[in-house]
Amino acid sequence: MSYFIYIVSSLCLVTLQTALIPRLGFVGHFFDLLLPWVIYLAAFRPVHEALPFVVFMGALMDNLSGGPFGLFLTSYVWLYIAVRLAATVVRAENAMVLVLIIIAAVVFQNTFFFMAINMALGGGHTTGEVIRVVSEQIGWVLLTGPLIALGMRQAKRLTSRRTRKVVESQAATHVG
């Protein structure tokens, strides 16, 4: 059931990102909408449930992108590991912390892409251009991030409640 929800949600996000947002001329460079998804999975969901799906999302995005295969996949997996480690130190449930993590993820992903492209294909993008793209994306994170963070917190609460109910019912069955 979780995987079904994850797949449907990520398809919705991918559609939004690749088919709908590009039609809005004023948007410019929007950030990768799957980044908050990866962060949510890394911060709030168990590894056995989240990691396969992160890999799936990376493969999906790599297939939709014209870049070398593995670019999105690698960036998502590294981001997953980084957020997983960070969640042991910081309190990821805080909305402000979540927004900061999304910003860090946007910077990380673009830097990673920039470096990978430059190494694989040699020069091309200027630093100014990278800064402009990343700034636009951060601007969008600042505008939409708080809402996304609240959504993530709400999703976390819902899943925690559901898990607790399942555990309680199992315990009751066991005692009975």
Binding site: T18, A19, P22, L64, S65, G66, F113, G124, V133
Partner: protein, 280 residues
């Protein structure tokens, strides 16, 4: 002396006479003079209050009873207006699409081989690559390597074909390269993408005559794009005396931000004959 009846008659005649005289006097005076003005000033506030109250009650009464029907009518009109606006937008959109498709159709007839129209259904999720997904695939005869064009010029080539969709590499992607000619002077070069909204015309010899505003067209030598399709216009030409090649930047003929429909040329033309060695 007088009978009671006579007195009554005389008093009656006197009253009528006085009344006539008073009426005659008052008709010659201004209407609100004297005591009349005082009375009017006294009555006016009450009249006003009464009138306002009556108006208010009447208004409330009327509004109350009419409000429901007006509100319903308003809702209906809003719905009708919304539908009309929506219809208008859709009609305008269809007109624009029709116009673009007519252009494509006209252009399709001028192409050397059969071609099919396709619609762009998705763009690259990354800001660093310039590819798009189109709604035609192998079942429509689309294969890897086929050239894609529009009425305005060269768009790119198919790099991956699924059964019903294909990925199209735009000429502005840094992985794209196509053989090209400067139309005016026939100077040759390779149009390479930059992943920005411009391309480079690489390998243009330093002695070749290339100027800002020159049109760059496909040469047909690469075996992908038919000869003579517009690729872009030269915007800058840089040349250091010691360089072997000129640095030429071109603005693509196609506005990739507004690209919605494209034509896939199903059977690429055979490569054009090579340029004689004495040309260069």
């Amino acid at each position: 002396m007088f009978s009671k009846k006579t007195v009554l008659i005389l008093v009656g005649i006197l009253l009528v006479t006085v009344n006539v005289i008073l009426l005659a006097i008052t008709t010659r005076r201004p209407p609100a003079a004297g005591i009349g003005r005082v009375m009017m000033a006294f009555a006016a506030p009450f009249q006003g209050l009464a009138t306002r109250t009556a108006n208010a009650v009447e208004g409330a009464w009327r509004d109350y009873f009419f409000l429901v029907s007006v509100s319903q009518q308003n809702q209906q009109l809003k719905q009708q207006l919304g539908q009309a606006v929506q219809g208008n937008v859709q009609q305008h959109e269809l007109e624009l699409e029709n116009s673009r498709l007519r252009e494509l159709l006209g252009f399709k007839r001028s192409l050397p081989g059969p071609a099919i129209a396709a619609q762009i259904i998705g763009k690259d999720p990354s800001a660093w690559f310039k590819t798009v997904i189109i709604d035609k695939g192998q079942t429509d005869g689309v294969q890897r390597g086929l050239p894609v064009v529009t009425f305005h010029g060269v768009v790119g080539q198919i790099v991956e074909a699924a059964s019903h969709q294909s990925r199209l590499l735009l000429i502005i992607d840094r992985n794209s390269a196509a053989d090209a000619l400067v139309q005016r002077t026939r100077a040759r070069g390779i149009v390479k993408g930059t992943s920005r909204d411009e391309c480079y015309l690489d390998y243009v010899m330093h002695e070749d005559d290339v100027r800002v505003g020159d049109r760059v067209v496909s040469s047909g030598f690469d075996g992908v794009f038919p000869k003579g399709l517009l690729m872009g216009t030269v915007t800058t030409v840089n040349f250091q005396g010691s360089d072997f090649f000129k640095e030429v930047r071109i603005t693509p003929a196609v506005d990739f931000k507004r690209l919605e429909e494209v034509l896939i040329i199903l059977k690429p033309p055979p490569p054009a004959p090579r340029v004689p060695p004495d040309r260069r």
